[in-house]
Amino acid sequence: MPQQESAIEFEIKPLAVQWSNLVCLDYIHDLSWSPNGYHIACADASGYVSIRSVITGHPIEHWTAHKLGALRVRFSPNGKYLVSSGQDGKAHIYDSANYAKLATIDHGENWVEHVAWHKLSDRILTAAGKQLKLSELDGNPVRQFEAHTSTIADAAWNPTAPDLFATSSYNGIRLWNANQSKYKRLLEWKGSLLNIAYSPNAKLLAAGCQDGAAHVWLLPAGKDLFMNGYPTKVRELSWDSSSKYLATGGGLEVVVWDFSGKGPAGKKPILFPGHDAFISALTFAPKGLQLASGGNDGRVMVWDLNARQVVSIYEDDDSRVTALAWSPDGSRLAASFASGRLSIFNLRK
């Protein structure tokens, strides 16, 4: 018999399922909550976009948005618009009142793999191949940017400065000002950088690497920290709202780095083992220290960083977790699966 190790016993609750439905035809690539928390949008590998009511799970609208796969779907920060992008080289802007198409941004043959709304909801950044575009709501380009030397792996707006953004690609991160066509600064790193994430205070910029590592730049100085030894490439990155903790995937364990005080250099990270297959999604709640993780084992786990413990679990029988997203008020968690299923969990129950 295995011995009981810890003195304090936590009760691990199953996640309270508000509803769980097949909302898409295929692998769900992306999820987005409407800012008011009423609607949730999904984009799938068959090119389908589906909008559901959060409360009832009923379909609000659904349509084939892209030939080939749909890759991204995002509500604008003011909730008035929705953008979808896909492998057909297009990004469409819709009116979220009726989901009528307002405009299209055309990237030619390249897959539009990243979209990012400007804070003011009046412009949108799209990345396809080596090409970056900033467009108005009518789809017209605001500015042409100098092409990247390799495919853009991710793009993110600086959360504190309105017109600054960053893009990652092979051999570094470029920092841009939306008003200039040439990048302002290159944070060099010889290697393949994947996803990027600004800390909410914009003082730290994290990037996952193809070769089993994560990289964090301290801004504006540009000093960098390098964390390696992950079993797989690192794509899953999430900062907590206080900019103190960075959670990373890249293997079976959630690895959390503490950036308070002197930072994580020389310190051991906090590890959360619990998945039986590689972690595929990771996200901190909008407030507080609850962290949700999803894996290829079909498991969704919610961790409490204060308690250093898992607090609730959900297990899907036959499908991998593909994306996770907290509702804007943090009361609910949405998880999407490779089967096209979407589950909404209620955390306040």
Partner: protein
Amino acid sequence: MSSNPKVPVTVLTGFLGSGKTTLLNRILTENHGKRIAVIENEFGEIGIDDALVVKSDEEIFEMNNGCICCTVRGDLIRILGNLMRRRDKFDYILVETTGLADPAPVAQTFFVDDEIQAQLELDGIVTVIDCKHIVMHLDSSSECKEQIAFADVILLNKTDLVSEKELCELEERIRSMNAMAKIHRTRNAVIDMEKVLNLSGFNLDKALSTKPSFLEPDYPFEWGGVYEFGLERLTLRLENGPDPAMDVLFLEADYSERVTIDKLAEKAFRLFSVDKIPLSSGAVIDKTNQVYALSLASEGTKSFEISLKPGLYTLFTQHRPEEFALSLCTTGGTKEARNCVFYQASHIHDSEISSVGIDTEGDLDQTKFNDWLSKLLREKGTDIFRMKGILSIAGQSERFIFQGVHMLFDGRPDRLWGEEKRSNQMIFIGRNLNRAELVEGFNSCLNKNRQLNLR
């Protein structure tokens, strides 16, 4: 989670104009009913509508994984990863590379990325060659050599543009560079699909499943014959031949019936790489285990007296005996070899790219072998393109199978040896490989007791 069978991926390489795109179109037309996705370089022209074609710019990424030569194709990681998410999965994926592509990053992508590894399997690398124009690239282009060295299948295409003699020479040269690949001659890239698809070239279960002829190494000698010497006076006689000199070696062959020429050939192979004694006509051959460089430039018959005690000997000659009308004369006549073996000539080989095959009995000491292989890959990994092997590890009842690309490799225990005779078979394909060093290094990992028994 249910684990679906992995989707095979075939990589097509070859210079511009070799017939690579013709082959690709042929595969697509002949595979009705299969869902095929094609990842095509920017210059490709595919004429088939129902295949999903994704254009891709080759993006080569260096990996910071402590392995200096590890590069991957970043574009393939992205595209393949995405394609595999679709519910209506593809049955097959073809990757067409640019004419000047280095195949290593493509192959290494399948070893390095976890997503790719979980869902896809590199089935094989098929290299298409334009017989007429290859010759000018073979000497100058390292990409061309690497495409040949990495291949599981090589199509000698456009055979109608060259003579049979040119074709034979080309085939022999390519064989010397890559002894593992299957070579097919084609016109207009016409070939049975089963010869290019579903090869399982990188599948460990099928690695070396058919005992390949490539394991016969290219020896520095072309002939070996066993003689029985008595007390009679013996003279080795040679006439003028194609070369002004020839190396010869006598080895004691023991009285044991079990000793084969092949066993001795390995020893001879090592001796041929050490110092040789030059010898002119009239001199005496009185040592075994010593290579003599016979000087044969002078006109007329050259004679060398043989002074060795009675017994069984194997004579190895650098060239074929008939080229020099070689004979072993006694007072009464000539002595014939009891049996003899011809070896593949090595001097026609490409100087830079070659294959080294090892086929030896005995059990490997696992620690020694690991140490040797990791040191080898650390030092020579950039020059070792591909390797495959079936190994007999001391104390383990299963066969150990492994394969690798540059410094990356994977291996695991396979089925039980059972009734099958335990042995080690291995092949290296690479640049500037030192055969003697590889063979010696490998042999030094063999379990000592076992080695003594063999001897």
